[in-house]
Amino acid sequence: MVPGQIGLVQATEAVKLILGIGTPMIGKFYIYNALHLGANFIEIGRHPSCDLCGESPRIKGLTGEGSATYGNDESSDPGY
């Protein structure tokens, strides 16, 4: 049931971005716990030393030199 709810949050964000309305969740991370009624937005800023979008990024592309490894090519279905 929580995947359903989060999926809806994602769809709503997509619509907001397309229409240019409301406040998009950029820099605001939504954390939800259904069991204990937790619903919070955490403010998160861009990290200056981020490997991807920081001031001196280490990751320069998806493939070739300066790319990261992802290891998602083997089969995996952890159940969620």
């Binding site: 989060i6 769809a11 861009r46 990290h47 992802y70 995996s76």
Partner: protein, 313 residues
């Protein structure tokens, strides 16, 4: 001072006030009256509601300006005046006010323009939408944040869903319902029975089918207007940029950490917003990663992907 005469007058007054005055008519009755050509038709909807078109022959009058607009009606106060709004509520009150102004034949069309549209009756619209689209998307377009312009934006937008499982299920269904122009889906997997406790995009009869095929059926069932593009494969570094290129927005509906980092990175290089989502058990998270607009990316939060044995997905 109460005299016998005064008391009778009082009883008559009460009787008159409690007798029902037929202010509302049905759509069929309205059509009959309009066919006779002897009625005035007033549209008392708000400006934001006009994007759904109007009934032919109607005159738009803001309900607050009734007195101003009808004070000197050349047709006279004996003429039949039909009023409509979106749902029949505002027009009913407006009809009552017209009666008080002396228009004895003021009538409100019950259930309003929305019912007229749903009943398939003829309307006049500016042509941006088909008749059926006006009806289908009316509840979107009536929202002031959406309107006609917003609906057109939705219909020309394209959203990519990476994954066709739990997160994608609700996202895909509601994106289809809202009228997004194109939905792309990336998923190499087939539907399993154990998916069905949460992946409502798929049904019992879909077990064994490719998830993307099942997703396409579900989307088309809701809204055949949506163009569905299928990628029955894994998202990998070698195909990610090419797949992302055709889309405005990417929704991370994947179920494993490695893919989440790949989606994040690919969106960064493609300059597209990545709508992150994760759900495990009773916990969920969501956010938009779009460094181009000043915010963080996934790696700002998790510089190093957590080892797989520590993270279920």
């Amino acid at each position: 001072m109460k005299t016998q005469e005064g008391a009778l007058e009082g009883r008559d007054r009460v009787k008159a006030a409690t007798e029902p005055v037929e202010l509302e008519i049905t759509i069929d009755e309205a059509k009959e009256i309009l066919r006779s050509g002897r009625a005035i038709l007033l549209d008392v909807r708000g400006e934001g509601e006009m994007c759904l078109g109007r009934i032919e022959g109607s005159r738009a009058v803001p309900p607050g300006l009734l007195e101003e607009n009808l004070g000197e009606l050349p047709e006279g106060k004996e003429t039949t005046v039909l009023l409509y709004c979106s749902t029949g509520a505002v027009s009913l009150r407006a009809a009552a006010r017209l009666r008080n102004m002396g228009f004895k034949k003021a009538l409100s069309i019950a259930a309003g323009y929305n019912a007229w549209l749903e009943a398939g009756e003829a309307v006049v619209a500016d042509g941006a939408f088909t008749r059926r689209q006006l009806d289908r998307y009316s509840r979107n377009m009536l929202l002031k944040e959406v309107g006609e312009e917003g609906q057109l934006k939705l219909m020309s937008a394209s959203v990519l869903l990476v994954g066709a499982g739990g997160l994608a299920s609700s996202a895909a269904l509601y994106l289809a319902a809202s009228g997004v122009g194109t939905v792309g889906i990336v998923d190499f997997d087939t539907v399993a029975l154990s998916n069905l406790n949460r992946q409502v995009l798929h049904g019992t009869g879909d077990v064994g089918r490719l998830k993307v095929d099942s997703a396409k059926s579900a989307i088309e069932r809701i809204n055949p207007d949506v163009r569905v593009v299928l990628y029955p494969e894994r998202l990998v570094p070698g195909n990610a940029l090419e797949i992302l290129e055709g889309f405005d927005v990417v929704i991370d509906a994947s179920d494993n950490i490695a893919t989440k980092f790949l989606i994040n990175d690919a969106c960064y290089f493609a300059g597209k917003p990545c709508i992150f989502g994760g759900a495990v058990g009773f916990d969920g998270q969501a956010g938009v990663f779009w460094p181009k607009k000043g915010g963080p990316c996934l790696r700002c939060i998790f510089p190093v992907p957590p080892p797989r044995h520590l993270v279920p997905t």
